[in-house]
Amino acid sequence: MSELLCTPTPITTKEGILELLKDKVGAQYYSQMKEMKVDQAALARDLEQTSKSRTRTWLNVCAHCAMCADSCFFYRTNNNDPTQIPSYKIQATLGELIRRKGKVDAEFMIKCMDAAWGKCTCCNRCAVYCPHGIDTGVMFSYLRGILFKHGFIPWEMKIGSGMHRVYGAQMDVTEEDWLETCEWMVEEQQEEWPDLEIPVEKEHADVMYILNAREVKHYPEDIALAAILFHVTDTDWTVPREGWENTSLTMFAGDWEGCAQNVKRIYSAIDRIKPKVVVGTECGHAHRATVVEGPYWAGRESGDAPVRFMHYVEWVAEMLRTGKLKIDPAKKIKVPCTLQDSCNYVRNDGLGSATREIMSYIAEDFREMDPKGDHNFCCGGGGGLNGIGVYRKERNVGLKNKLDQIKATGAELVVTPCHNCWDAIRDMMEVYEEHNIKWSFLKPLLAEMIIVPPHIRHNELE
């Protein structure tokens, strides 16, 4: 293979993705990265144009007081290694980059990449502990954008951003695959739920449901479960033909142009379908990309999405509150259980109370982690870190923090309404050989414990 795999140009073709995928674990990609030339003039210009007063003030007034140190799970799990202090991590990378006005070499850019993806998940927890209100996670996200533009990003992030640009999804799921999966899932459920439907592009539906491409590709039963829950709650719902995928590896990659493409695809589905509400699946970063940051990428100055968006936990909480979803008391979760707060919709969108409301309906022995809610720690695999092979070791060390938090609750089940948290928790149980703690999304738990209303045709299967 002699192609140039590592370049600053984003991937925009199927061939480009295939070429990159052929390069096992990105070996050639990373070796080419070491040789890549940094366009210092362009870098200086990018920094000048995009690093404004907020970033510069944050970097300049940082009192180096180290109050952010203990807020970072990487610092805690790396034996209080001073080089893992958020303040240090950002000063030694972005701070240095700005001080040197972009006059840096590939080695320095790779050091920045190692920190931006391997030492920070952009969970924004440190921002909550800085007296000056400095959000290092935001600065690392900004640094990712700069690094993306200049080609210094992890191999998987390059592929992920390319997938979004080519397929409109984080995986190579085409529109055909998506629609076939919907049909297939309805067929699968026919026997048990004879009237189940997944309506596609139904105009003026009350709810437009959008989801994570992984569900289509790897666990399509999640779509069936979503359909069942919409069905039993008599929800007038639909899915779009295009604009159904709301994750954004482009956000993890710092590919802001790709981010805008993703979110515009969803917003134009809203224009076509004109739903009252959009409900997104159990995913943290997808919600953040579409609802919290998305409006800005789409150029909406008010910062608001075109219609009301609900994360799945908000929708479930509302259904339980209004009695549209009824829980069989005998089937509630009996074992001690805890709840993982996803940074992206809890700390960064204030939805911690919705998840707790749900727990009050479904769990008999619910135990909070310490800390919890807005102050909870990242699962350890956020910000794309779960998927980046080259930083697997760093991630596995970081996972220990969450494992300790979970174990301290004595819970046997962790409710994780987020794909990344779900993955991180699955992996930590494997890495640290913990076999007595289970983890689950909400949908499969709910489907097991709902009372099916009498007017819904339902055949109990053996």
Binding site: A66, S87, S302, E314
Partner: protein, 226 residues
């Protein structure tokens, strides 16, 4: 000599301080960018104003935030330093007299003993913060010249002022050093990390707005629970 440093030089340094700080505020606000920062600064004032205010006030109260509560030792030292560093320069009798003479602003003045106590506590806090900086591995990693500079710039006016009160035989010499170090503080403040005297409020307001406008203000009921 004394007339010059307590007269024109005092006025000059005060002007540099005030104009410099106003400029920092001006450039800070001017440099905000809703598109780059992804914060709808001009919208949702019902959430953003309470968010900004809560973010400032909660951090001005000792123990007012999780951040302060989880690190009580550092928090106590910061507050000891800042009580004196804010109150003494503004409200010490000698200072209020100067301000009235040159600027025409009349401020109430602190009782002398209270000012002394505050000054001693601030000095102790500076020394302890300095020691913390040298002893803690985390801080040793972060230390830079600019951090030490602001500690020294703050230490000098307090130390010289107190010594002038105690060492009455050399009062005039210590007073000259005191005024000069105070003026050095005023002149350098806008150009060093001392600019946090105003930028603390700007940065806190910004992040308070960010959380209140965009990151959950609508669902969390306004301000972030710092």
């Amino acid at each position: 000599m004394l007339d010059f440093i307590t007269g024109p030089l005092f006025v000059i340094s005060l002007v540099i301080f005030v104009v410099g700080m106003l400029a920092r505020i001006f450039w800070y606000v001017r440099g905000l960018d809703w598109r780059l920062e992804r914060v709808a600064y001009r919208y949702h004032t019902d959430r953003s104003v309470p968010g900004a205010l809560a973010s400032i006030f909660k951090w001005l109260i000792p123990g007012g935030t999780d951040g302060w509560r989880t690190q009580p030792v550092a928090a106590v030292l910061f507050f000891l330093l800042h009580f004196g560093a804010v109150l003494v320069p503004l409200f010490l009798l000698g200072h209020t007299v100067l301000l009235e003479r040159y600027v025409g602003i009349t401020l109430p003045s602190l009782p002398g003993t209270l000012a002394d106590i505050l000054s001693v506590l601030s000095l102790a806090a500076i020394v302890l913060l300095g020691i913390r900086r040298m002893v803690s591995p985390a801080l040793r990693q972060l230390n830079s010249g600019s951090d030490w500079l602001i500690l020294v710039l703050t230490f000098l006016p307090f130390a010289t002022g107190l010594i002038a009160r105690l060492d009455t035989s050399a009062y005039q010499s210590w007073m000259i050093l005191h005024v000069l170090s105070g003026e050095l503080f005023l002149i350098l403040a806008p150009f060093t990390k001392l600019s946090h005297i105003v930028l603390f409020f700007m940065s806190r307001a910004q992040i308070g707005m960010d959380f209140a406008i965009k990151r959950g203000g609508a669902t969390r009921g306004g301000a972030f629970p710092w």
